[in-house]
Symmetry: C4
Subunit: 199 residues, 4 copies
Amino acid sequence: MLLDASQSQLVLVDYQTRLMPAIFEAEAVAKNAVRLGEMARLVEVPIWGTEQNPSKLGENLPEIRALCQRTLAKMHFSGAEEGLGEWLRVPVKAPQGNARSLPKHLQKPAAAEERNTIVIAGCEAHVCLLQTALDLLEDEFEVWVVTDACSSRTERNRDAAFDRLAGAGAELVTTEMVGFEWLRTAEHPRFRELQALIR
Amino acid sequence: MLLDASQSQLVLVDYQTRLMPAIFEAEAVAKNAVRLGEMARLVEVPIWGTEQNPSKLGENLPEIRALCQRTLAKMHFSGAEEGLGEWLRVPVKAPQGNARSLPKHLQKPAAAEERNTIVIAGCEAHVCLLQTALDLLEDEFEVWVVTDACSSRTERNRDAAFDRLAGAGAELVTTEMVGFEWLRTAEHPRFRELQALIR
Amino acid sequence: MLLDASQSQLVLVDYQTRLMPAIFEAEAVAKNAVRLGEMARLVEVPIWGTEQNPSKLGENLPEIRALCQRTLAKMHFSGAEEGLGEWLRVPVKAPQGNARSLPKHLQKPAAAEERNTIVIAGCEAHVCLLQTALDLLEDEFEVWVVTDACSSRTERNRDAAFDRLAGAGAELVTTEMVGFEWLRTAEHPRFRELQALIR
Amino acid sequence: MLLDASQSQLVLVDYQTRLMPAIFEAEAVAKNAVRLGEMARLVEVPIWGTEQNPSKLGENLPEIRALCQRTLAKMHFSGAEEGLGEWLRVPVKAPQGNARSLPKHLQKPAAAEERNTIVIAGCEAHVCLLQTALDLLEDEFEVWVVTDACSSRTERNRDAAFDRLAGAGAELVTTEMVGFEWLRTAEHPRFRELQALIR
């Protein structure tokens, strides 16, 4: 199955200023998180953030925080334990403006509707990202984990998280997969902008 | 389950002149694509090509284009969105000529019949190859992805595509597996020619 | 699904003094086994040990043996063949003392109850750990294998064990995953102590 | 599930003198094949061999050929296409001699019975071993592939074979796993001899 932009929401988990310096491949991971956020904006996918104990670990990186329409502060490792699921269940009104110029698979009636496909990435992959994603799967969301925008302090813990998420039914994808599936065609009006983000 | 030449068709996706220079291990991948095409000819398996936005990315490499009976130009990343499935549904008349000399598992009645087994390879593995293969799976083809004839600009994106295709029900194979399953026996009349392609 | 401390028991398999010197990455593996034991104590999870033919292979490392409430001497490679399952079926009385100060998901009625979730690690991963874990799965325990606290003399045998355990329905986790799932929140009264064990 | 010696047969595929020099890690692979054969003898598991087109590729290595009670010459890549399945379906009379000294799980009534568990290894992993194993799975044998006794000319083809075999329902094991599951306990009368083969 391919990702559908009109059904998607993006969740960016705990890219926090006092956590990232300890993360394996942090720079590449943060760059992909920003790309995901910018791609989501291009195709009008809602973007949410979470922050673990921000008084201790700091806020999310400013360039990531700025992309999120809301950011959830939490003490549980799983954002779903502190209301993330409720945020994701609120019907989102589909975009109106230039809908007529969108390709057919993006033209939806303007009525507000739930978006059940959660594209998620974050740190640490084996703690907060894992626990949040597994809880969302139990709550019957479809969960797509963007592996090249996730990491942990160690590579081994990161990879163990991916194996476990795949076993639990999450779809493992990459940043580029997400972008090209949200577009579907080189004739999408945002194709050039999205391509510029990636290459 | 083993591949059956009499049920197979080969699809070669987007080995384009202006795309290949950026591809990881492009030379080996293109060489395997040519081998696949030449093996398909030996056992009379139909061969199809696709090209993504050829006015921008160029045509397929000439040695690959020459092997395909038709090549589909497309703007969607998935060839299935632009009619590839229809090409693959057209009944193919089984070969007549030297059928009596073929081993038993290749001797089929000469009536035209659909071939539901799609052997597919191409670039980029995580975009056009992935989207085409997933769509063909949804259209109830059996999809066999030849991993050593597929690639992306990065190894990580390529491997993420393979994991996702396996999870969606595609069979992951190699060029040599395809050749030896199409033959099944060293007594096949084309055994020496096929072996010469591989070694 | 996430680990639940109130349903868990920990089993440490054959970290024996005359076996460990031959084990791949023995030092890191033993360190994680000790961490697991100390984390289990923090959240009042029962801890059991096994020893293969201890007259030949020696007792478990003293720091590991000291953490186990009982240690099973065995001649079968699988502890389940010599009564481990019976030990694990005995209802464990839930902790009383500071239960009121525990977070909600740890507050359980004080009645004795079975704990069906077995967190297990040990050596050699592909012999005694594997055979014990597969037998516990057949006996309908939920089995969680802590991969970074398991090893064999060779890496290849170790990894083959993990693949086989995953295929048989075990959940593969890491030491840190176990700790953070037993806690669930940074507000758990033992959070600081557990964090000190890990970092 | 663990291997049961009383249900097992061993098949050694195409370790041929003119093929092995081209095989990746041939020496280690042949050594494990010999170990498997010697372990099978210790626990009275029947041993069969196959040879692909032996007039071209030579016979199996003499130390392997000597372990097999019969060796099947074939032209099909799959031994199952040329009668291997029939050999494996013949009831085998259980050993009598020292049965009373065997541990309980090896004491079976002496009546001849089919052994449905096929432990298999050989070369090339992605051609003859793969096609034979997949055919045996279709014929409803339980197939256990001993990965460290299998290889191909290239590592990539070898590993692709293992992934495909696992996906088709084969159990992937190592030489040591097989030995220790056939024994089950350090009190097995052949324990010391088997241990001497491995270490």
